[in-house]
């Protein structure tokens, strides 16, 4: 069915300069990485747009590269999630590994790419939030004055005011840099199905160093797939000001402060998302309380 109705043109550049000339010729092309998100949209096929242009990134050799030094790892945008696990499982932060593992089957992780996880449109995967808690940055390639430029940007800078990832028009993520971290508290949780029930699911990533009873450099990000990422330095500062373990009253105050911020960013999160967010905060605090209590008395 639908054959010949609107068969998109497929461009398969094999390096970044070929990519640049293709995107200059066809500025409104769709970028195609692993296709796991594009193909699972109910309206994916047949394509509604006539004369659609697709740029398949899979043949661009530069985007498959992986490099590391003693401080960070750099992944080309076309490195798959499975590729990340096999190259960096031993050295990469736990919070990222846990995030990848929630996707589950390698039938998906063998195809889904680093670039694709960050760039989904009108939907936010749990990855940008996790990358924010790791101070990760992305190299963005964009066209200006008919030339391909590149700029490294912290993932936080890719968020627009509404908490959505906003890549510049005709922009492409080409690399992602993730610093190794020795933070001793790393936590990732995703509750509900991002793909099947996005209106009711939520993910959170949290990283910090617990030193005796205080947190150093805490970062927490909540992701609501149909809304975006909720990240604020103010919430991080609240965590920095706490002394663990927290009692019930302190927990309630913290929870209230977080909700004030979440609901000022996203007014209409569902009641289930609210309950699930609350459950995640509880788990993080319980974990921190337990860690704080098990630190030997001498080191206090």
């Amino acid at each position: 069915m639908y054959e010949g109705l609107s068969s998109p043109n497929i461009h398969t550049p094999s390096n970044l300069s070929e990519y640049a000339s293709t995107i200059l010729h066809y500025p409104s092309s769709t970028l195609w990485a692993g296709g796991t998100f594009i193909m699972t949209r109910p309206e994916a096929y047949p394509s509604r747009t006539m004369n659609a242009e697709i740029i398949y990134l899979g043949n661009i050799e530069e985007l498959h590269r992986f490099q590391r030094n003693d401080r960070s790892a750099e992944f080309g945008a076309m490195v798959t999630l499975d590729g990340i696990l096999s190259t960096g499982k031993a050295v990469l932060p736990r919070v990222l590994i846990d995030n990848i593992q929630t996707i589950g089957s390698r039938l998906i992780t063998r195809r889904a790419t680093v670039g694709g996880t960050i760039s989904t449109k009108d939907f936010t995967t749990s990855f940008p939030g996790t990358l924010i808690t790791l101070d990760a940055s992305a190299e963005v390639r964009f066209i200006r004055k008919r030339r391909l430029h590149s700029r490294w940007m912290p993932i936080t800078r890719l968020l627009d005011k509404a908490g959505r990832i906003a890549i510049p028009q005709q922009g492409m993520i080409s690399r992602v840099r993730i610093a190794f971290t020795d933070k001793n508290c790393q936590y990732f949780d995703e509750v509900g199905s991002f793909m099947l029930d996005p209106e009711n699911s939520v993910a959170a990533a949290f990283t910090a160093t617990l030193d005796q009873d205080i947190l150093i450099n805490p970062k927490i990000a909540f992701t609501y797939p149909t809304h975006g990422v909720c990240y604020s330095r103010d919430i991080d500062s609240i965590f920095s000001s706490l002394r663990f373990p927290l009692d019930d009253a302190e927990f309630s105050t913290l929870e209230q402060m977080i909700f004030t911020f979440v609901e000022s960013s996203f007014q209409d999160i569902s009641p289930l998302q609210r309950t699930r967010t609350s459950g995640i905060i509880r788990k993080i605090v319980d974990d921190l309380n337990e860690k704080a209590l098990t630190i030997s008395p001498e080191s206090r």
Binding site: M1, L5, P8, P42, A44, Y45, G104, R110
Partner: protein, 162 residues
């Protein structure tokens, strides 16, 4: 768009929309309607095929990506020696997938057996994609382990026969 590929051992040149999902190609262009699902993003996990020997969800593979590649559906896989190993493993453990997910599960079992994966966590993770609840997790792990033993024995025997 003209696509050259091999499907179930047949070398073909198909005239297709470049972004048509492989699940629909198999259903509409190859008459593979009994085995292949196309759930439009509901993540049923019932459309597994082997592409160059690796298990993939056919609904997530666009036509332009099968250019020059070798696609094996359950319809042809079921006649292979490898499927016999999996059937023996089912029999030995005493559990079979239900008729709905039999093709998909069998192809996922094949890719796990082929890679020799025995870690229960990894095995169960692979099956999270199949939403059908017909199989107990422990049984799935035992089937993979048994399948690996059966395959190993067959591979050891084969050189002695030749």
């Amino acid at each position: 768009m003209k696509i050259d590929c091999t499907i179930d051992g047949k070398t073909l040149t198909l005239s297709l929309n470049s972004d048509k999902p492989l699940s629909l190609i198999l259903r509409e262009n190859m008459g593979e309607d009994s085995a292949l699902n196309h759930c439009s993003g509901r993540m049923c996990g019932l459309c597994t095929v082997l592409v160059d020997g690796k298990a993939m969800l056919a609904c997530m593979v666009p036509a332009f990506e099968i250019r020059g590649r070798n696609v094996t559906t359950f319809a042809s896989f079921r006649k292979t020696r490898n499927m016999k190993d999996i059937e023996k493993a089912y029999e030995s453990v005493g559990r079979y997938p239900c008729s709905e997910c039999f093709p998909s599960r069998s192809l996922i079992f094949e890719s796990l057996i082929d890679e020799g994966i025995t870690d229960p966590e990894e095995i169960l993770k692979e099956f999270t994609i199949v939403k059908c609840p017909c199989m107990d997790p422990d049984d799935a792990v035992n089937i993979v382990r048994r399948g690996i033993e059966i395959r190993r024995k067959r591979n050891v025997r084969r050189p002695q026969l030749t």
